[in-house]
Protein backbone atom coordinates (compact mmCIF):
# COMPACT_ATOMS: atom_id res chain seq x y z
CA UNK A 1 0.00 0.00 0.00
CA UNK A 2 1.47 3.32 -1.06
CA UNK A 3 1.42 6.23 1.40
CA UNK A 4 -1.06 9.07 0.79
CA UNK A 5 -0.22 12.54 -0.50
CA UNK A 6 -2.45 15.53 -1.21
CA UNK A 7 -1.78 18.12 -3.91
CA UNK A 8 -3.94 21.22 -3.45
CA UNK A 9 -4.22 23.97 -6.03
CA UNK A 10 -5.71 27.32 -5.04
CA UNK A 11 -6.82 30.02 -7.40
CA UNK A 12 -6.82 33.79 -7.53
CA UNK A 13 -10.03 34.17 -5.52
CA UNK A 14 -8.20 32.91 -2.42
CA UNK A 15 -4.86 34.60 -3.12
CA UNK A 16 -6.43 38.00 -3.59
CA UNK A 17 -8.42 38.05 -0.35
CA UNK A 18 -6.38 38.23 2.86
CA UNK A 19 -9.13 36.75 5.05
CA UNK A 20 -9.92 33.94 2.63
CA UNK A 21 -6.22 33.12 2.34
CA UNK A 22 -5.83 33.04 6.14
CA UNK A 23 -8.86 30.72 6.42
CA UNK A 24 -7.54 28.48 3.66
CA UNK A 25 -4.06 28.24 5.19
CA UNK A 26 -5.64 27.16 8.49
CA UNK A 27 -7.60 24.41 6.75
CA UNK A 28 -4.56 23.41 4.73
CA UNK A 29 -2.40 23.15 7.87
CA UNK A 30 -4.94 20.83 9.48
CA UNK A 31 -4.92 18.46 6.52
CA UNK A 32 -3.12 15.30 7.64
CA UNK A 33 -0.22 13.61 5.86
CA UNK A 34 2.27 14.76 3.23
CA UNK A 35 0.92 17.62 1.13
CA UNK A 36 1.82 20.15 -1.52
CA UNK A 37 0.29 23.54 -2.21
CA UNK A 38 0.22 25.05 -5.70
CA UNK A 39 -0.85 28.66 -6.15
CA UNK A 40 -1.48 30.90 -9.10
CA UNK A 41 -1.08 34.62 -8.75
CA UNK A 42 -4.53 35.80 -9.67
CA UNK A 43 -4.80 39.38 -10.72
CA UNK A 44 -1.88 40.50 -8.54
CA UNK A 45 0.61 40.32 -11.39
CA UNK A 46 -1.65 42.35 -13.68
CA UNK A 47 -2.10 44.96 -10.95
CA UNK A 48 1.66 45.02 -10.35
CA UNK A 49 2.39 45.40 -14.06
CA UNK A 50 -0.03 48.33 -14.23
CA UNK A 51 1.70 50.01 -11.27
CA UNK A 52 5.00 49.68 -13.10
CA UNK A 53 3.59 50.99 -16.35
CA UNK A 54 4.04 47.64 -18.12
CA UNK A 55 1.44 46.83 -20.73
CA UNK A 56 -0.33 43.48 -20.79
CA UNK A 57 -1.10 42.21 -24.28
CA UNK A 58 -4.05 39.85 -24.66
CA UNK A 59 -4.55 37.64 -27.72
CA UNK A 60 -7.64 35.43 -28.05
CA UNK A 61 -8.48 36.24 -24.44
CA UNK A 62 -5.11 34.99 -23.22
CA UNK A 63 -2.26 36.97 -21.73
CA UNK A 64 1.02 37.17 -23.65
CA UNK A 65 4.06 36.83 -21.38
CA UNK A 66 6.75 39.10 -22.80
CA UNK A 67 10.08 39.62 -21.00
CA UNK A 68 8.79 42.39 -18.74
CA UNK A 69 5.59 40.55 -17.87
CA UNK A 70 7.62 37.46 -17.04
CA UNK A 71 9.72 39.54 -14.63
CA UNK A 72 6.54 40.77 -12.99
CA UNK A 73 5.27 37.18 -12.70
CA UNK A 74 8.56 36.04 -11.14
CA UNK A 75 8.46 38.92 -8.66
CA UNK A 76 4.80 38.55 -7.79
CA UNK A 77 4.20 34.77 -7.86
CA UNK A 78 7.72 33.58 -7.06
CA UNK A 79 8.47 36.40 -4.62
CA UNK A 80 5.65 38.20 -2.86
CA UNK A 81 2.80 35.67 -2.98
CA UNK A 82 4.97 32.58 -2.46
CA UNK A 83 7.07 33.91 0.43
CA UNK A 84 4.08 35.50 2.17
CA UNK A 85 2.27 32.14 2.10
CA UNK A 86 5.38 30.36 3.37
CA UNK A 87 5.82 32.79 6.29
CA UNK A 88 2.12 32.44 7.19
CA UNK A 89 2.31 28.63 7.11
CA UNK A 90 5.46 28.68 9.25
CA UNK A 91 3.53 30.74 11.82
CA UNK A 92 0.93 27.92 11.86
CA UNK A 93 3.75 25.40 12.52
CA UNK A 94 3.44 24.00 9.02
CA UNK A 95 7.01 23.51 7.76
CA UNK A 96 6.51 25.11 4.35
CA UNK A 97 9.16 25.59 1.69
CA UNK A 98 8.47 27.90 -1.25
CA UNK A 99 9.51 26.65 -4.67
CA UNK A 100 9.40 27.59 -8.30
CA UNK A 101 9.80 24.83 -10.85
CA UNK A 102 13.44 25.89 -11.29
CA UNK A 103 14.28 25.19 -7.65
CA UNK A 104 16.00 21.82 -7.29
CA UNK A 105 15.26 21.52 -11.03
CA UNK A 106 11.88 19.99 -10.21
CA UNK A 107 9.67 21.20 -13.08
CA UNK A 108 11.28 21.21 -16.50
CA UNK A 109 9.37 22.76 -19.38
CA UNK A 110 9.84 23.98 -22.94
CA UNK A 111 8.88 27.41 -24.17
CA UNK A 112 5.57 26.94 -25.95
CA UNK A 113 6.26 26.62 -29.69
CA UNK A 114 5.06 29.58 -31.73
CA UNK A 115 2.16 28.55 -33.96
CA UNK A 116 -0.72 30.93 -34.65
CA UNK A 117 0.10 32.91 -31.53
CA UNK A 118 3.42 33.58 -29.78
CA UNK A 119 2.48 33.36 -26.12
CA UNK A 120 5.98 34.46 -25.11
CA UNK A 121 7.69 33.00 -22.04
CA UNK A 122 5.08 30.37 -21.35
CA UNK A 123 6.20 26.86 -20.44
CA UNK A 124 4.72 23.50 -21.35
CA UNK A 125 5.88 20.94 -18.79
CA UNK A 126 8.00 18.10 -20.15
CA UNK A 127 9.27 16.42 -17.01
CA UNK A 128 8.93 16.46 -13.23
CA UNK A 129 12.10 15.46 -11.39
CA UNK A 130 10.77 13.96 -8.18
CA UNK A 131 13.99 13.07 -6.37
CA UNK A 132 14.28 16.28 -4.30
CA UNK A 133 10.52 16.53 -3.97
CA UNK A 134 10.41 13.07 -2.39
CA UNK A 135 13.26 14.05 -0.04
CA UNK A 136 11.28 17.12 1.05
CA UNK A 137 8.04 15.21 1.62
CA UNK A 138 9.80 12.40 3.48
CA UNK A 139 11.52 14.88 5.77
CA UNK A 140 8.19 16.49 6.68
CA UNK A 141 8.53 19.62 4.56
CA UNK A 142 5.47 21.06 2.82
CA UNK A 143 6.35 22.33 -0.68
CA UNK A 144 4.52 25.46 -1.84
CA UNK A 145 4.82 25.88 -5.61
CA UNK A 146 4.24 29.03 -7.57
CA UNK A 147 3.24 28.82 -11.24
CA UNK A 148 6.74 29.01 -12.72
CA UNK A 149 8.87 26.40 -14.44
CA UNK A 150 12.24 26.55 -16.21
CA UNK A 151 13.67 25.18 -19.44
CA UNK A 152 16.96 23.91 -17.99
CA UNK A 153 18.81 26.46 -20.13
CA UNK A 154 18.43 29.32 -17.68
CA UNK A 155 15.01 30.55 -18.76
CA UNK A 156 12.14 30.84 -16.29
CA UNK A 157 8.71 30.23 -17.80
CA UNK A 158 5.21 31.22 -16.77
CA UNK A 159 3.20 28.03 -16.40
CA UNK A 160 -0.46 27.27 -15.76
CA UNK A 161 -0.97 26.48 -12.07
CA UNK A 162 -3.65 23.83 -12.77
CA UNK A 163 -1.18 22.01 -15.00
CA UNK A 164 1.63 22.28 -12.44
CA UNK A 165 -0.68 20.72 -9.85
CA UNK A 166 -1.74 17.85 -12.11
CA UNK A 167 1.80 17.13 -13.33
CA UNK A 168 3.14 17.09 -9.76
CA UNK A 169 0.29 14.77 -8.74
CA UNK A 170 0.99 12.47 -11.70
CA UNK A 171 4.74 12.36 -11.01
CA UNK A 172 4.15 11.53 -7.32
CA UNK A 173 1.73 8.71 -8.15
CA UNK A 174 4.60 6.27 -8.66
CA UNK A 175 5.40 6.49 -4.96
CA UNK A 176 2.14 7.74 -3.44
CA UNK A 177 -1.61 7.31 -3.62
CA UNK A 178 -2.35 10.84 -4.75
CA UNK A 179 -5.40 13.02 -4.25
CA UNK A 180 -5.50 16.20 -6.30
CA UNK A 181 -7.69 19.07 -5.05
CA UNK A 182 -8.73 21.95 -7.27
CA UNK A 183 -9.92 24.62 -4.90
CA UNK A 184 -11.84 27.49 -6.54
CA UNK A 185 -14.76 29.81 -5.86
CA UNK A 186 -17.58 27.35 -6.64
CA UNK A 187 -18.60 24.49 -4.31
CA UNK A 188 -17.96 21.94 -7.07
CA UNK A 189 -18.87 21.08 -10.66
CA UNK A 190 -22.40 22.45 -11.00
CA UNK A 191 -25.22 20.85 -13.00
CA UNK A 192 -26.75 24.33 -13.25
CA UNK A 193 -24.10 27.04 -13.48
CA UNK A 194 -26.41 29.58 -11.81
CA UNK A 195 -27.22 27.36 -8.84
CA UNK A 196 -24.57 26.66 -6.19
CA UNK A 197 -26.83 23.95 -4.77
CA UNK A 198 -26.49 21.85 -7.94
CA UNK A 199 -23.08 20.31 -7.14
CA UNK A 200 -22.56 16.99 -8.96
CA UNK A 201 -21.14 14.81 -6.18
CA UNK A 202 -19.34 12.26 -8.32
CA UNK A 203 -18.18 12.22 -11.93
CA UNK A 204 -16.64 9.21 -13.61
CA UNK A 205 -15.25 9.11 -17.10
CA UNK A 206 -18.51 7.56 -18.26
CA UNK A 207 -20.78 10.20 -16.72
CA UNK A 208 -18.31 12.89 -17.91
CA UNK A 209 -18.88 11.92 -21.55
CA UNK A 210 -22.62 12.01 -20.88
CA UNK A 211 -22.34 15.53 -19.44
CA UNK A 212 -20.27 16.62 -22.44
CA UNK A 213 -22.90 15.25 -24.83
CA UNK A 214 -25.66 17.13 -22.99
CA UNK A 215 -23.54 20.35 -23.02
CA UNK A 216 -24.10 20.36 -19.25
CA UNK A 217 -20.63 21.71 -18.40
CA UNK A 218 -19.90 25.44 -18.52
CA UNK A 219 -17.12 26.56 -20.87
CA UNK A 220 -14.72 27.71 -18.16
CA UNK A 221 -15.03 24.35 -16.44
CA UNK A 222 -14.08 22.26 -19.48
CA UNK A 223 -10.25 22.67 -19.43
CA UNK A 224 -10.28 22.09 -15.67
CA UNK A 225 -12.14 18.79 -16.08
CA UNK A 226 -9.93 17.76 -18.97
CA UNK A 227 -6.97 18.34 -16.66
CA UNK A 228 -8.68 16.21 -13.98
CA UNK A 229 -9.24 13.23 -16.27
CA UNK A 230 -5.78 13.58 -17.75
CA UNK A 231 -4.44 13.24 -14.18
CA UNK A 232 -6.71 10.24 -13.47
CA UNK A 233 -5.63 8.62 -16.73
CA UNK A 234 -2.03 8.99 -15.52
CA UNK A 235 -2.36 7.20 -12.18
CA UNK A 236 -3.68 9.96 -9.91
CA UNK A 237 -6.04 8.20 -7.52
CA UNK A 238 -8.75 10.82 -7.05
CA UNK A 239 -9.49 14.43 -7.97
CA UNK A 240 -11.68 16.73 -5.87
CA UNK A 241 -13.13 19.99 -7.16
CA UNK A 242 -14.79 22.53 -4.89
CA UNK A 243 -14.26 25.51 -2.64
CA UNK A 244 -11.98 25.44 0.40
CA UNK A 245 -14.72 23.90 2.58
CA UNK A 246 -13.97 20.58 0.93
CA UNK A 247 -10.85 20.44 3.13
CA UNK A 248 -13.06 20.36 6.27
CA UNK A 249 -12.90 16.85 7.76
CA UNK A 250 -16.68 16.32 7.54
CA UNK A 251 -17.29 18.07 4.25
CA UNK A 252 -19.41 16.25 1.68
CA UNK A 253 -20.38 19.03 -0.72
CA UNK A 254 -17.82 18.95 -3.55
CA UNK A 255 -17.24 16.98 -6.70
CA UNK A 256 -15.12 13.84 -6.64
CA UNK A 257 -13.75 12.59 -9.93
CA UNK A 258 -12.52 9.06 -10.50
CA UNK A 259 -12.02 6.93 -13.59
Amino acid sequence: MKPLVSVIKIGGNIIENEKELARFLNLFTQLKGPKILVHGGGKKATAMAEKMGIKTTMVQGRRITDKKNLEVAVMTYGGLVNKTIVASLQALKCNAIGLSGADAGIIQAVKRPVEEVDFGFVGDIVYVHTQSLLTFLRSGLVPVFCALSHDGQGQLLNTNADTIASELAIALSKEYTTTLYYCFEKPGVLADIGNDNSVIPHITKETYFGLLKDHAIADGMLPKLENCFYALDHSVHKVCVGNMDMLLPKSTIYTTLTL
Copy 2:
Protein backbone atom coordinates in the same frame (compact mmCIF):
# COMPACT_ATOMS: atom_id res chain seq x y z
CA MET B 1 37.49 15.27 10.53
CA LYS B 2 34.40 17.24 9.62
CA PRO B 3 33.48 17.60 5.94
CA LEU B 4 34.07 20.96 4.23
CA VAL B 5 31.41 23.49 3.28
CA SER B 6 31.71 26.90 1.60
CA VAL B 7 29.37 29.82 2.24
CA ILE B 8 29.78 32.55 -0.39
CA LYS B 9 28.18 35.96 -0.13
CA ILE B 10 28.00 38.20 -3.19
CA GLY B 11 27.20 41.87 -3.21
CA GLY B 12 25.32 44.29 -5.39
CA ASN B 13 28.24 44.90 -7.78
CA ILE B 14 27.86 41.34 -9.07
CA ILE B 15 24.05 41.16 -8.94
CA GLU B 16 23.65 44.35 -10.94
CA ASN B 17 25.88 43.40 -13.83
CA GLU B 18 24.65 40.55 -16.05
CA LYS B 19 28.12 39.64 -17.35
CA GLU B 20 29.74 39.75 -13.92
CA LEU B 21 26.96 37.60 -12.52
CA ALA B 22 27.36 35.06 -15.34
CA ARG B 23 31.10 34.91 -14.71
CA PHE B 24 30.59 34.55 -10.97
CA LEU B 25 28.02 31.75 -11.37
CA ASN B 26 30.49 29.85 -13.55
CA LEU B 27 33.21 30.14 -10.90
CA PHE B 28 30.73 29.26 -8.16
CA THR B 29 29.59 26.13 -10.03
CA GLN B 30 33.19 24.94 -10.35
CA LEU B 31 33.79 25.26 -6.61
CA LYS B 32 34.01 21.71 -5.23
CA GLY B 33 32.05 20.31 -2.29
CA PRO B 34 28.88 21.39 -0.50
CA LYS B 35 28.25 25.12 -0.85
CA ILE B 36 25.75 27.87 -0.18
CA LEU B 37 25.26 31.16 -1.98
CA VAL B 38 23.94 34.26 -0.21
CA HIS B 39 23.01 37.32 -2.23
CA GLY B 40 21.90 40.82 -1.44
CA GLY B 41 19.79 42.74 -3.90
CA GLY B 42 21.99 45.74 -4.53
CA LYS B 43 20.26 48.74 -5.97
CA LYS B 44 17.64 46.67 -7.81
CA ALA B 45 15.08 47.07 -5.02
CA THR B 46 15.58 50.84 -4.91
CA ALA B 47 15.18 51.02 -8.69
CA MET B 48 12.06 48.85 -8.50
CA ALA B 49 10.58 50.99 -5.72
CA GLU B 50 11.16 54.10 -7.84
CA LYS B 51 9.40 52.49 -10.81
CA MET B 52 6.43 51.77 -8.60
CA GLY B 53 6.39 55.25 -7.12
CA ILE B 54 7.32 54.03 -3.65
CA LYS B 55 9.45 56.38 -1.60
CA THR B 56 12.59 55.19 0.14
CA THR B 57 13.26 56.89 3.46
CA MET B 58 16.84 57.08 4.64
CA VAL B 59 17.79 57.81 8.26
CA GLN B 60 21.44 58.13 9.29
CA GLY B 61 22.42 56.87 5.85
CA ARG B 62 20.38 53.70 6.27
CA ARG B 63 17.25 52.64 4.45
CA ILE B 64 14.02 52.33 6.42
CA THR B 65 12.02 49.25 5.45
CA ASP B 66 8.35 50.21 5.66
CA LYS B 67 5.59 47.80 4.56
CA LYS B 68 5.75 48.81 0.89
CA ASN B 69 9.53 48.71 0.74
CA LEU B 70 9.46 45.27 2.37
CA GLU B 71 7.11 44.09 -0.38
CA VAL B 72 9.52 45.41 -2.98
CA ALA B 73 12.41 43.63 -1.25
CA VAL B 74 10.47 40.35 -1.16
CA MET B 75 9.59 40.69 -4.85
CA THR B 76 13.06 41.73 -5.95
CA TYR B 77 15.41 39.71 -3.73
CA GLY B 78 13.13 36.74 -2.98
CA GLY B 79 11.57 36.66 -6.44
CA LEU B 80 13.40 38.10 -9.41
CA VAL B 81 17.04 37.99 -8.30
CA ASN B 82 16.80 34.69 -6.43
CA LYS B 83 14.90 32.73 -9.09
CA THR B 84 16.99 34.13 -11.94
CA ILE B 85 20.16 32.96 -10.18
CA VAL B 86 18.62 29.53 -9.52
CA ALA B 87 17.57 29.08 -13.17
CA SER B 88 21.07 30.13 -14.32
CA LEU B 89 22.76 27.70 -11.92
CA GLN B 90 20.45 24.88 -13.02
CA ALA B 91 21.56 25.56 -16.62
CA LEU B 92 25.15 25.05 -15.40
CA LYS B 93 24.10 21.69 -13.87
CA CYS B 94 24.42 23.09 -10.37
CA ASN B 95 21.38 21.80 -8.46
CA ALA B 96 20.41 25.12 -6.87
CA ILE B 97 17.42 25.73 -4.63
CA GLY B 98 16.34 29.29 -3.88
CA LEU B 99 15.43 30.08 -0.30
CA SER B 100 14.40 32.92 1.93
CA GLY B 101 14.96 32.55 5.65
CA ALA B 102 11.25 31.68 6.01
CA ASP B 103 11.55 28.61 3.77
CA ALA B 104 11.80 25.45 5.86
CA GLY B 105 11.90 27.90 8.80
CA ILE B 106 15.67 28.12 8.48
CA ILE B 107 16.43 31.70 9.56
CA GLN B 108 14.42 33.00 12.49
CA ALA B 109 14.75 36.64 13.43
CA VAL B 110 13.11 39.34 15.52
CA LYS B 111 12.02 42.69 14.21
CA ARG B 112 14.73 45.09 15.27
CA PRO B 113 13.60 46.84 18.49
CA VAL B 114 12.79 50.52 18.05
CA GLU B 115 15.35 52.65 19.85
CA GLU B 116 16.52 55.96 18.41
CA VAL B 117 15.43 54.92 14.94
CA ASP B 118 12.60 52.64 13.78
CA PHE B 119 14.19 50.75 10.92
CA GLY B 120 10.86 49.10 10.12
CA PHE B 121 10.68 45.49 8.94
CA VAL B 122 14.33 44.69 9.54
CA GLY B 123 15.26 41.42 11.17
CA ASP B 124 17.99 40.59 13.65
CA ILE B 125 18.74 36.87 13.44
CA VAL B 126 18.07 34.88 16.60
CA TYR B 127 18.39 31.30 15.41
CA VAL B 128 19.35 29.20 12.40
CA HIS B 129 17.47 25.89 12.17
CA THR B 130 19.94 23.67 10.36
CA GLN B 131 17.95 20.42 10.09
CA SER B 132 16.52 21.02 6.61
CA LEU B 133 19.66 22.83 5.50
CA LEU B 134 21.75 19.77 6.36
CA THR B 135 19.27 17.56 4.48
CA PHE B 136 19.65 19.78 1.40
CA LEU B 137 23.45 19.83 1.53
CA ARG B 138 23.68 16.09 2.11
CA SER B 139 21.42 15.39 -0.85
CA GLY B 140 23.64 17.50 -3.15
CA LEU B 141 21.42 20.57 -3.35
CA VAL B 142 23.00 24.02 -3.42
CA PRO B 143 20.98 26.50 -1.33
CA VAL B 144 20.79 30.06 -2.66
CA PHE B 145 19.64 32.47 0.06
CA CYS B 146 18.23 35.94 -0.45
CA ALA B 147 18.50 38.49 2.32
CA LEU B 148 15.17 37.80 4.00
CA SER B 149 14.31 36.15 7.30
CA HIS B 150 11.04 35.68 9.20
CA ASP B 151 9.89 36.09 12.80
CA GLY B 152 8.00 32.80 13.04
CA GLN B 153 4.77 34.78 13.50
CA GLY B 154 4.14 35.26 9.79
CA GLN B 155 6.24 38.36 9.24
CA LEU B 156 9.01 38.45 6.63
CA LEU B 157 11.96 40.69 7.54
CA ASN B 158 14.64 42.39 5.51
CA THR B 159 18.00 41.16 6.80
CA ASN B 160 21.58 42.09 6.10
CA ALA B 161 23.10 39.61 3.62
CA ASP B 162 26.55 39.69 5.28
CA THR B 163 24.93 38.69 8.57
CA ILE B 164 22.86 35.93 6.93
CA ALA B 165 26.07 34.51 5.45
CA SER B 166 27.97 34.62 8.76
CA GLU B 167 25.08 33.16 10.79
CA LEU B 168 24.63 30.32 8.29
CA ALA B 169 28.38 29.64 8.39
CA ILE B 170 28.36 29.65 12.20
CA ALA B 171 25.36 27.33 12.41
CA LEU B 172 26.93 24.86 9.96
CA SER B 173 30.22 24.79 11.87
CA LYS B 174 28.89 22.16 14.28
CA GLU B 175 28.78 19.66 11.42
CA TYR B 176 31.22 21.12 8.90
CA THR B 177 34.61 22.80 8.61
CA THR B 178 33.29 26.06 7.22
CA THR B 179 34.91 28.62 4.94
CA LEU B 180 33.05 31.90 4.59
CA TYR B 181 33.74 34.01 1.47
CA TYR B 182 32.80 37.67 1.25
CA CYS B 183 32.94 38.49 -2.41
CA PHE B 184 32.87 42.20 -3.25
CA GLU B 185 34.35 44.70 -5.73
CA LYS B 186 37.80 45.00 -4.12
CA PRO B 187 40.51 42.30 -4.38
CA GLY B 188 40.70 42.06 -0.57
CA VAL B 189 41.23 44.15 2.55
CA LEU B 190 43.50 46.96 1.37
CA ALA B 191 46.34 48.54 3.36
CA ASP B 192 45.89 51.63 1.18
CA ILE B 193 42.25 52.16 0.19
CA GLY B 194 43.26 53.87 -3.05
CA ASN B 195 45.60 51.08 -4.15
CA ASP B 196 44.18 47.75 -5.32
CA ASN B 197 47.69 46.28 -5.18
CA SER B 198 47.85 46.72 -1.41
CA VAL B 199 45.86 43.60 -0.45
CA ILE B 200 46.68 42.38 3.04
CA PRO B 201 47.08 38.61 2.49
CA HIS B 202 46.39 37.44 6.03
CA ILE B 203 44.76 39.03 9.06
CA THR B 204 44.62 37.39 12.46
CA LYS B 205 42.84 38.77 15.48
CA GLU B 206 46.15 40.11 16.73
CA THR B 207 47.08 41.93 13.51
CA TYR B 208 43.44 43.13 13.25
CA PHE B 209 43.72 45.00 16.55
CA GLY B 210 46.97 46.49 15.30
CA LEU B 211 45.28 47.68 12.11
CA LEU B 212 42.43 49.15 14.15
CA LYS B 213 44.90 51.03 16.37
CA ASP B 214 46.65 52.45 13.30
CA HIS B 215 43.26 53.44 11.76
CA ALA B 216 44.45 51.46 8.75
CA ILE B 217 40.99 50.07 7.90
CA ALA B 218 38.52 52.12 5.85
CA ASP B 219 35.16 52.90 7.47
CA GLY B 220 33.08 50.78 5.09
CA MET B 221 35.30 47.79 5.76
CA LEU B 222 34.93 47.87 9.54
CA PRO B 223 31.49 46.22 9.94
CA LYS B 224 32.51 43.59 7.37
CA LEU B 225 35.63 42.69 9.38
CA GLU B 226 33.71 42.72 12.64
CA ASN B 227 31.34 40.22 11.02
CA CYS B 228 34.34 38.12 9.94
CA PHE B 229 35.84 37.92 13.42
CA TYR B 230 32.46 37.33 14.98
CA ALA B 231 32.16 34.30 12.66
CA LEU B 232 35.69 33.11 13.52
CA ASP B 233 34.96 33.54 17.23
CA HIS B 234 31.93 31.28 16.71
CA SER B 235 33.71 28.29 15.17
CA VAL B 236 33.90 29.28 11.49
CA HIS B 237 37.22 27.89 10.28
CA LYS B 238 38.32 30.59 7.83
CA VAL B 239 36.99 33.76 6.22
CA CYS B 240 38.12 35.00 2.79
CA VAL B 241 37.53 38.53 1.55
CA GLY B 242 38.11 39.56 -2.05
CA ASN B 243 36.62 39.81 -5.51
CA MET B 244 35.26 36.81 -7.41
CA ASP B 245 38.75 35.86 -8.67
CA MET B 246 39.43 34.43 -5.23
CA LEU B 247 37.27 31.47 -6.28
CA LEU B 248 39.73 30.59 -9.05
CA PRO B 249 41.61 27.42 -8.05
CA LYS B 250 45.05 29.07 -8.23
CA SER B 251 44.10 32.47 -6.87
CA THR B 252 46.33 33.92 -4.16
CA ILE B 253 45.32 37.59 -4.17
CA TYR B 254 42.70 38.00 -1.47
CA THR B 255 42.57 38.38 2.27
CA THR B 256 42.34 35.34 4.53
CA LEU B 257 41.18 35.89 8.07
CA THR B 258 41.75 33.41 10.88
CA LEU B 259 41.78 33.72 14.68
